[in-house]
């Protein structure tokens, strides 16, 4: 469960709101209040993104720095929940996270396979959702590149808890 001092995102990551200043906390409360009204997914995306941009550009933050802030991450997470709730977005699974890991940490699938010991053919089948990796195989492969698996609570779609 989330308390007023924390936010649990769709991946089960706990974000502490205690280190936000009062204005930032107000920004997050505004995002949550708007999300609880079940807004249109696209409308909400335009809202949170322009609001967070206005807020932090007034403080002189760069866009890159703004993307690291909790309000940015929470706005994006709330928007994802709205998209899932409306049936526009798929709740991700380990294969989406694998794709993201490959995209952000490796130059291509081959490099990832060389680092993890996974066969390229197998990875291709897994990412195309034709096959699954055994949990121990996945855990061993991830460990070779410094990652691990976690079991987290299933997220509720729109609520922030």
């Amino acid at each position: 469960m989330s308390s007023p001092e924390e936010y649990i995102d769709l991946k089960g990551k706990v974000l502490s709101l205690a280190r936000l200043d009062p204005d930032e906390q107000g920004l997050v409360r505004g995002f949550m209040a708007r999300a609880e009204g079940h807004p249109d997914w696209n409308e909400y995306r335009n809202f949170w993104m322009s609001t967070v941009w206005d807020f932090y550009s007034a403080r002189g933050l760069t866009r890159r720095a703004t993307q690291q802030t909790l309000p940015y991450l929470i706005g994006q997470d709330l928007c994802s929940r709205i998209g899932i709730s409306a049936g526009y977005v798929r709740q991700s699974d380990y294969r989406d996270e694998l794709e993201q890991l490959i995209r952000t940490r490796f130059s291509n699938r081959r490099e990832f396979c060389e680092a993890t010991g996974l066969a390229e053919d197998m990875l291709s089948h897994v990412l195309a959702r034709r096959k699954h990796l055994a949990v121990d195989t996945l855990a061993e492969a991830l460990a070779r590149v410094g990652y691990t698996l976690h079991i987290v609570p299933m997220p509720r779609s729109v609520s922030h808890t």
Partner: protein
Amino acid sequence: MTQSPLLECSFFIPLCRDANLSDGMLQSIEAWDWLDHEMFFNFDGGTIAPGEYEGFYRDPDTHERVFDKSRKFLVAVQASRLHELRALLAAACVIFGQKCIYLCVAGQVEFVAYELP
């Protein structure tokens, strides 16, 4: 220094991955987050038009008519930075499982595809 003129650009991102190229499933959270991230960083976020856009096209490989639903993005881009938008959409082809992405630049339509480096 004179700023190059802003051009109104719009592009469509289908809600589902291409069934022939990929698995036809709904896009993932990660894919939309990536696009938001790139749009925010490079183009101040742009705007998404309300609603979803239904359309169809003939698949160049299967020659079958394909129906899809998309989100429409609007963004004002300097002419000198159009190549950045095209590069972003080429990457989006891979991430969103599309053969190409419809892009309209000041009324002129083009299809951006991913090309192997």
